[in-house]
Symmetry: C2
Subunit: 351 residues, 2 copies
C-alpha cells in the first residue's frame, strides 16, 4: 500500500504503519460508516446560524478563520440573539482572546471586562441585549425528540436500534443523548433526586422533561459573573480539554466550533490566574479582527456546512461503532462511549 492511500481506518489509529505492513482487514471504522451515509441524512445548517470569526494572521502570515454554529431552539435563544446583535453592531471587532487555560477553555471578549490582569475601562455594549434567567440554562422537553439513554430502557428494548444505544452515553444526568444534531442531557423531575444522580438507579421513565446541551470539546458558551448574572454573550469561551460537565446548567451554551478549532486550541496558555495572559504577556492576546453572521456575507464568502442527522440510521451505526471499535487497529472494543466521544459529524456542504 502506498503512503498516500491512507484509509479512514488508519486515519483513526494511533500509529500509521503503512510502510511497515499491509493493513489488516476489519469492520468499517466510524468514519467509513459516515462516508456511506445517504445524502438526505446530511442536514444543511442555516447561514443565519453560522458565525465567521477572523483572527489576526498567524506569525507566519497565514490566515486564521474560525466558524461557529449557533444553537437552534429550544436552547439558549436569548443569548444567541444577543450574539447576532453584537456581531451586527460589530462589537466583537477588535476584541481579543484573553484567556487560554490548559485542559479547560479559551475565552475571548473585551480585554478590560472582568480581567484580573487588566485595569482599563470596559467597552460599552450595544442597546437591546436581552437579560436571560438561570432557568434558561435548560429547556422544557415537551414535544422534543430525544435519542439516548434513560437507564433501564436498553434492557427492555433490545430490538429497537435507538434504544440499544442507551447504555453508551455516560452518567452525568438521568438522560444523555442526541437530538437535532446536538449532544444533550436531561432529567425527569418525577424521578426522586437521589436516584436521578446515581449510575444504576432503578427508575425507568421513558423521557426527560427538562433537557440541556452539554459541555463537550469545542462547544461554545457564555462567560458570566457570579449568580444571578447569566452573561450577555459578549464574553465567549470554547472547551479545549476533557468535557467540563460540571458547567452544564451553570452556564449558557450557545454553539460549537465547526471549523478552525485548531486556531484556538493551539494558542499559548496564559500564565495568569484562570489562564488569563498576565501583566507583561499582553502581546500574546490574539486579536479578533471581525465576527460576522454568515448570512450577512456576500454569497461568495458565505461558508456552508451540514451535519449528519442524529435521528437517522447512519448515526446509530456510527455511534455504535464509536462505542465498539472493530476496525483494524483495535483489539478490545470498549463496549460504551461517553457522549462527548461521539462527535456529531459536520462537514462543508457538498463534500
Amino acid at each position: 500500500m502506498t503512503k498516500h492511500l491512507i484509509s479512514l481506518a488508519a486515519m483513526l489509529a494511533l500509529a500509521a504503519p503503512l510502510a511497515a505492513q499491509e493493513e489488516p482487514q476489519g469492520a468499517p471504522s466510524p468514519n467509513e460508516i459516515v462516508a456511506q451515509a445517504d445524502a438526505k441524512e446530511w442536514i444543511a445548517i442555516p447561514a443565519e446560524d453560522l458565525l465567521v470569526m477572523t483572527l489576526a494572521p498567524a506569525a507566519d502570515g497565514s490566515a486564521r478563520k474560525v466558524v461557529i454554529q449557533l444553537m437552534p431552539a429550544p436552547f439558549s435563544q436569548g443569548w444567541v440573539e444577543n450574539i447576532r446583535t453584537l456581531a451586527r453592531a460589530k462589537w466583537y471587532d477588535n476584541i481579543a482572546v484573553n484567556r487560554v487555560q490548559d485542559n479547560y477553555v479559551v475565552q475571548w471578549g473585551d480585554p478590560n471586562y472582568d480581567n484580573p490582569e487588566s485595569e482599563g475601562a470596559a467597552k460599552p455594549l450595544p442597546d437591546g441585549l436581552k437579560v436571560m434567567d438561570e432557568s434558561d440554562y435548560a429547556a422544557p422537553a415537551r414535544h422534543y425528540r430525544f435519542y439516548g439513554n434513560s437507564g433501564k430502557r436498553v434492557h427492555e428494548n433490545r430490538s429497537n436500534p435507538h434504544l440499544t444505544m442507551a447504555y453508551l452515553f455516560g452518567n452525568y444526568a438521568g438522560y444523555n443523548g442526541f437530538s437535532a444534531g446536538w449532544p444533550v442531557a436531561g432529567t425527569n423531575s418525577a424521578v426522586p433526586s437521589e436516584k436521578r444522580r446515581s449510575i444504576d438507579s432503578a427508575y425507568d421513565y421513558s423521557r426527560p422533561d427538562s433537557v440541556w446541551p452539554v459541555h463537550c470539546y469545542g462547544m461554545v458558551g457564555v462567560g458570566r459573573n457570579y449568580s444571578p448574572d447569566t452573561g450577555s454573550g459578549a464574553e465567549l469561551y470554547t472547551v479545549i480539554g476533557h468535557a467540563p460537565r460540571h458547567l452544564d446548567r451553570n452556564i449558557a451554551l450557545v454553539g460549537r466550533i465547526v471549523e478552525g478549532m485548531e486556531h484556538l486550541s493551539s494558542l499559548p496558555r496564559g500564565t495568569g490566574a484562570l489562564g488569563f495572559y498576565a501583566t507583561g504577556e499582553e502581546a500574546k492576546r490574539t486579536p479578533i479582527l471581525s465576527v460576522r453572521v454568515a448570512s450577512d456575507l456576500p454569497a461568495g464568502e458565505r461558508p456552508a456546512f451540514e451535519y449528519l442527522s442524529t435521528e437517522g440510521e447512519t448515526f446509530v451505526r456510527y455511534a455504535e461503532a464509536r462505542a465498539n471499535r472493530r476496525d483494524p487497529f483495535f483489539i478490545v472494543p470498549a463496549g460504551g462511549a461517553d457522549i462527548c466521544n461521539i462527535p456529531v459529524p459536520i462537514r462543508r456542504a457538498g463534500e
Copy 2:
C-alpha cells in the same frame, strides 16, 4: 477584594468577576480541600519514576521542559523499563514531536518511524528492549487496593465514604476508580460479558479481577503498529483532548505529564494524515533535545514531585466536591463526575 488576592474558588470559575462584585460565600472548592490536606497524605514520587524531557526553546527563546511520571507496578512495567533503557541510551535525544492531532494526541519519536509523511530511514533501537504481550495492557487485580465503583455497591454501603463515591466515575467498564494515585478501570471476569458492558447491570461483585490504567488528559502511552505489535516505548504520545477511552486495553499506558503539559498541548496541529506534519511543514516539528531519568540528574537539577494519596480522606472529599460543586460560581451541582474530571492532585514537593 483586590485583584491579586484571587481565591482558589475563583480560580476555578469561568469568569473572574473580582472587580465587579464581592465574591459570594460558599462551600470550599475542590482545590481548597486539597490545600487543607495533611502533609502525610502527600506521597513522594520516586526520582526513578520521573523523566525530564527538554524540548528546543520556544520561538521567543524561553525554555521548554516537560516532566513525565512513569507508571508503577503492576502496570506496563516492561514498557516502562524499555523507556528507562531508551533514555539511558540517549536514544530519545534529537528526536522530535512529529504529530499533533487536535482533540486527540501529541506524539513524539523518530520522525522516520512509521511516518506517512516521511521516507527516511528509521533510527536503530538499542539492544535489550523487552517485547511485551497484549495481555500486559491489563494487570491481575489480586491484592490490589481499589477505590471506586462497581455498580450496585454504592446503594448498599452508604455509610462507607469510599463506597459512596461509587457512582461518580463513569461507565466505560464494570469498575472505574483510583488506586495508588492513578485512575484505573477494571472488570470481573465472573460477570457475564453482556452485563459487563451495560451502565445499569444488576451484578454486584465486590472487586474487579483485572485492572488497567485509563486514557485521561495528559496520560502518556506507547505508539504501536497493528496487532499483535505492542510497541517498544520509542514512540510515545500524550492525550490532548477528551479522554479517548476506546484506546484503553488497546495500547500500553506508561505514565502521565506532571509538569509542562502546555508545551505539548499548544503545539501547532499537523495538517497531514493523523495530524502528522505534512511534507513542507517539517519545520513545525519540535526538536527534543534530551530525555533523562530524574535519578540520573545531579541533585540540584533533579525535580521532586508528590501526589495526593487516593486512599486518604482528603481525596474522598476532593472527588466528592468535584462531583458536586458547591463553591460560589456554581448553582447546580452535577451529582457525578467522570473519572477523568477528577485529576489526581500532583505538586512540586515542599509546596
